[in-house]
Symmetry: C2
């Protein structure tokens, strides 16, 4: 077995002294003016632009953060060309020693789940971790757990997502618990089982930054699970809101910002005094701003001491 | 707007006089002996074999069935080469006038869901329909519905999946209903909304063949939804078990068989008297056998009258 996912993640977080994760969600309409012309490109050329943009972002954030999260949908939307760009982006992130979390929210049964796990965690896509959807049940998650555990990779299971519609099914009450609390109980079991006596296992959870109260409860309910917290920034979550996802030592959570950082050229306070060609400086500023805010308002400040 | 998905599907089913759908789930270890050597191939060569195998299967089943369902995981497992093979398989199926249902069980929020919908239903992958996971809630499904409705495509939302673990979360009771019944209520609303006065809308449901009793109830609960029924054959579902998914006129359901048909060379009763090179004859026999059984034991028999 390789070194465990949790050990590698912990080392990366301690080395960078932050739990900030940059989401790589390239969007045609949001690219910096330096990529002018993207609006009219065919998808083959657009995919090449996505790859260059994401690799340029990676060059800026790689010295600052431990982990990046490519959003598979953004690349899949461009077909084969997009998948080629994705492979390039993952490869570049790995060269820069970043942990790579493929955000695909995959889920299926039996040998089909095995195929997803093989592809993303043990095979050609070579990600370090994958987000997984729990709707199909625990037996659908097992093949991901097995492959992750064997390959020193990780999975993050959707528990309580950041969107308002997460109330529709995740918040329904069954017995004493909501559905997402039932899922969290399953995550904790898998996390504890794969921790093998260590603090964290190969199985983590996704809980949105938009639900501060639930983050507190979820931290308590899943002591062996890393919690991935999307929705920081644009979706409304603030640093103080994600405090509950951390353990007191500053570990246990990974906080994601995507658009606020990668499209920081569009934020006047980050873009101040910069030319169009200096969009990477805006990314650098926004990334450092996020890290500072996490350090100021959450236990992640311990990491910077 | 293009001709609606439901109209095209109905026409295809009436033309072939069956609601059988063949699942395209290529597996290295299950390929016919005619593809000897697959066990030791590198993934690039294996992906090319997958493409050839699936296209050969399509050539056999295209005159017999209205729809095929490529399993995205099997192709993703082979990285970029696998995705290239998938594109080739989809393209070949379309040339053969088959309806193509991409089985990806995708799901995400907002603009990310839009990206998946763009890629699979409106863009480069050019599928006619996509399976969608409802865990993230109704607002996560809306972008798929919108794109499907606008583009004359369809989506099939997971309701009650065929695996035993579907009990873990889908069967939990909340109020008077299980979670999958709550999801089904959402599906019916979306199906009715997109039907525009016709019988079926652009939104269907997935209910496993392994749950005959629930199929009856789900047919009644979602009168405007096509029901996709996987798990026929290998997973234990029999023709009589899927009866409940159909309306009395023989429409309303699509029944999937994958391994039992595409790997029919491994079934002695289908392979009788055949040489290794004649594996397509076994596929033909198994496909016709499935169609005959559906016609004999379900309302789909009406289609053959």
């Amino acid at each position: 077995m390789n070194q465990g996912f949790s050990s590698r993640l912990t080392a990366a977080i301690k080395s960078k002294r932050t739990a900030a994760c940059i989401g790589l969600d390239p969007r045609r309409e949001a690219l910096p003016p330096a990529f002018a012309g993207a609006a009219s490109l065919e998808i083959k050329e657009l995919a090449a632009v996505f790859a260059r943009f994401c690799c340029d972002v990676i060059d800026v954030v790689a010295p600052l953060v431990p982990i990046v999260k490519p959003q598979l949908a953004c690349f899949e939307a461009l077909g084969l060309h997009g998948m080629t760009a994705l492979a390039e982006v993952i490869s570049h992130a790995r060269e820069k020693q970043l942990v790579v979390l493929a955000d695909g929210k995959r889920g299926d049964i039996g040998s089909t789940a095995e195929a997803y796990a093989d592809g993303w965690l043990a095979g050609p896509w070579a990600a370090d971790a994958l987000t997984v959807n729990p709707y199909l049940g625990l037996d659908s998650i097992e093949p991901f757990v097995k492959t992750a555990h064997e390959r020193g990779a990780g999975i993050f299971i959707l528990v309580k997502t950041s969107n308002p519609g997460s109330r529709d099914f995740q918040d329904l009450a069954s017995g004493e618990r909501t559905i997402y609390e039932h899922v969290a109980a399953g995550v904790e079991q898998l996390a504890a089982r794969t921790a093998g006596g260590a603090t964290y296992g190969a199985v983590g959870a996704v809980v949105g930054a938009t639900w501060p109260r639930q983050l507190d409860a979820m931290r308590a309910a899943m002591p062996h699970a890393w919690i991935l917290v999307p929705g920081f920034g644009k979706q409304g979550g603030r640093a103080a809101d994600v405090r509950g996802a951390f353990h007191d030592d500053g570990l246990g959570a990974i906080v994601v910002s995507a658009r606020d950082v990668i499209f920081a050229h569009a934020r006047p306070e980050m873009n101040d005094g910069l030319a169009d060609t200096q969009w990477q400086t805006a990314v650098d500023r926004a990334c450092r701003d996020m890290i500072d805010r996490l350090a100021a308002d959450t236990p992640a400040g311990r990491l910077a001491e």
